[in-house]
Amino acid sequence: MTGDSTMPRHRELGLTDSEYDLIVEKLGREPNAVELAMFSLLWSEHCAYKHSRKLLGRLPTDGPRVVMGPGENAGAVDVGSGYAVAFKVESHNHPSAVEPFQGAATGVGGILRDVFAIGARPIAVLDSLRFGELDSVRSRHLLDGAVRGIGHYGNSIGVPNVGGEIYFEEPYEHNCLVNAMCIGFAKTEAMVRAAAAGIGNTVVLMGATTGRDGIGGASVLASAELGEGDDAKRPTVQVGDPFEESKVLECCLELLEKGLLVSLQDLGAAGLTSSAGEMASAGGVGIDIDVAKVPLREADMEPFEIMVSESQERMLAVVEPSRVAEVRAICDKWQTGSAEIGVVTDSGRVRILKAGEVVGDMPVEALVDGCPLYDLEPEAPAGWIYGNRQTLAPSADSEATLLALLAAPSIASKQWIFQQYDSIVGSRTVRRPEAADAAVLQLPESGNAIAVSIDGNGRRVACEPYNGTVEAVLECAQNLACVGAEPLGLTNCLNFGNPEKPVPAWQLDRAISGLAVVCEELGVPVVGGNVSLYNEGPDGPIYPTPVVAMVGELPNPAQTAPMGFAKAGDAIALLGPFAPTLQGSELAKQRGELAMGLPEPDVAAVAAACATVREAVRAGRVASAHDVSDGGLACALAESAISSGLGFRADLQDLRERGCSPEEALFGEGTGGFVLSGERTELEALGALVIGEVGSTTIELAAGDRSLVIGLVDATEAWRSLDARAEAVA
């Protein structure tokens, strides 16, 4: 790694002077090269969470259904009959901005490993992506690369991609976001933890060989802003091999099934350094690693390179010595590598040896938990800091406005993307992407099903981080309700700018507070998550983007409502405390009128509406259910029409009587709105407001002086226009 030759080595590696002094104090001497490399990684923002850890303590993490909480490789909740569902979301933002295909692919690989590391078989992946606007060649390139990378990895390994979300906003132009989520399924009693245990037990490294991939990734890429000359960082993006992963996955699951492992950990950011360190820390033990025993892909690797390599598709296990031969035999069967590289000790230290000679020796506590945690210095911005760009004239009529919203890449159908993913392998997918508001996966083993949704509108969070984050969680809950699911747990990925700067610090602080309060009120525990900071470029920070994902359960997978209308003649109704405004809306964005401020959501009222919709869906009392989000009610109604091929007529007069202007009623956004369709009497019995009827070749919305009529064909063309935009030749 090149750098200013006059800069001290520790600063080149991302450590401050005072952090370095603290390391010296804890070691009782200066660290050598191996130790310095290891400390620089484990004390990086990406691994140590030094600017977020104190805030994350606010999040509620307990609940009667929690089987594994934060701190393990993935969280897990009980789904009954002795089964658990594991899940987690993680970011791979910085590598994806440098090399989108491999960055996104290895993001998927990494999150898969986190899930099977606890003994759960991966049964689905989802992804949450953010790019700049599609008129940017760079953003089209990143979108294309990321989608192909995610597809390549997930499809090859045979795990279905069942949902996700993508937004295109200028603040992500220099810092795209790639958040990958994985869901796994396991018998609760078969799940395993990461804590190393048993003095004298053998440490076994399984999977692929170790090369120079990703060296310095955690400290180089994930803990610093991207600037000019980032091409030099290109070699550090890891390269993924899904075939290797499928072999080590099957091997690990068989080893766990046979009870052959004491503990298991995946190798991700900071490779062996973090895995070995964290296993030792969790178990309150020490660990010796001999780098000479690590199977290498490249010759002459230095001990520090071996310890910090981020070569993919590797797992670390603790095995009783008497069972090591059996473990290695099963690795051979699956044609995946295995090597005895170390031993669990009672020293409380991480020792690195090279063919028996000690080349590094650090206390576990100092390495893993010794990093100082920082307080933020938050400061609210004076106003809107993200700029505005007008793409829609204020004089545009309602028809043109609706078409512009439907065609907005953030709102338009993502079919071009999800058709590049295998969404059905595994035979569990009851609701495929865009068929309903949440993905639904059947669990014949436990006799029920789960639903999952991943959401997070960064633009709205930028308008008001506390309310915007509360909204994101409520949107997840609403999406789950539409398929009859009750939330069991939540995972989150907090993507923010530089926490050492006052405004991103304020955004992070407010967002985490909002997240804590809404999860507490809803009774949904946070079972795990990830933080990605320093997402800033020359133009400033990204939109504060807390991506939240919820997993819920439902009793009968045959009773989940689709998003699209069912048949002509059905009534259409609006249910819930929907009080739309143009604040933070897609329309405000297109008009170039974004500003600070967002209404405060009524969590209790939205939760009550979710319960009503959930029960109605489970009882088969509605033909379709769709929550109102981006683009407002007009878009939600249009989406239900387009996806079913059935037009409709609706009158928004009642909404206006609640105090909305015609424009707010049509295009305003906010939580709490559900669009339902079905038998009129059923909808009325639910307390929903009947506003229209299904059946025509047009979309007709009565809204005072902003009333509109457009052909279903035109609306469809607008909503299906993403392919053309995404593949546009510059």
């Binding site: 192909r148 597809g151 390549h152 499809n155 090859s156 390994i157 045979g158 091999d241 899904p242 075939f243 290797e244 499928s246 072999k247 699956w334 044609q335 999800f418 058709q419 590049q420 993913y421 295998d422 969404s423 059905i424 392998v425 595994g426 035979s427 569990r428 997918t429 009851v430 059947q442 997978p557 045959a558």
Partner: protein, 222 residues
């Protein structure tokens, strides 16, 4: 009837195939790729996935496995063999079916539901079960290398001998397969390969159940 479903390193849809065989009323078991003995099964499914990581070419390595040697013998003896997606690729590489599969025309992986036309074969087993060419099956396709190809002369011969088994309906050929061919059979009719996935069309909860007919069409050869 007892189906054997082959399993290679990198297979993805073998458990789905296992499940589908049971749904259509058979028994089914997994057969590991290095098994030379098929254990007395009546028919074989070569499943979808990315056997050996598609190293060299999709299906190029798998076709040399001991299990595939045994499958070739079963096929020669007239037993039913169904190759799905990667399985179809394996059977073509093994020479058990004519033609080859290339990258999709649009150079992207595509996963979507497709309408397939059933095309009658030379054997009465098919003709009894299906009426004419009009039967349409709704079956999902999901692949990156599913564009069927064979030279014109070979195709003419295949058509003459009733070796085209399934065609994509109008507007449903998303990968550019020549003559809209979605699946083919050998001359005898007991070996069938298709790119779409009938094993993912057997459960009403997850989609159509038309895929059952693809399995049933081969039961007569057991």
């Amino acid at each position: 009837m007892i189906w054997g479903v082959l399993q290679f390193p990198g297979s993805c849809d073998e458990r789905d195939a296992l499940n589908a065989c049971e749904v259509v009323g058979g028994e089914a078991r997994l057969i590991w790729h290095d098994e030379r003995d098929l254990g007395g099964v009546d028919g074989i499914v070569v499943p979808g996935g990315f056997s050996y990581g598609d190293y060299l070419r999709a299906g190029a390595i798998a076709r040399f496995s001991p299990a595939m040697e045994a499958v070739a013998e079963l096929a020669a003896a007239g037993g039913p063999v169904l190759g799905i997606c990667n399985g179809f690729q394996v059977l073509c590489e093994a020479g058990l079916l004519p033609g080859a599969l290339l990258r999709n025309q649009e150079l992207r992986f595509i996963c979507k539901q497709a309408d397939l036309l059933v095309v009658d074969g030379p054997k009465s087993a098919d003709i009894e079960r299906f009426s004419a060419h009009q039967q349409v099956l709704s079956i999902p396709m999901k692949h990156g290398e599913g564009r069927y190809y064979a030279p014109d002369a070979m195709l003419d011969e295949m058509e003459a001998k009733g070796q085209v088994a399934y065609r994509y309906a109008d507007g449903h050929n998303a990968n550019g397969s020549v003559r809209d061919i979605a699946g083919v059979r050998n001359e005898r009719g007991n070996v069938v390969g298709l790119m779409p996935h009938p094993e993912h069309a057997v459960d009403p909860l997850t989609g159509s159940i038309d895929g059952r007919k693809v399995f049933e069409a081969l039961e007569g050869f057991a």
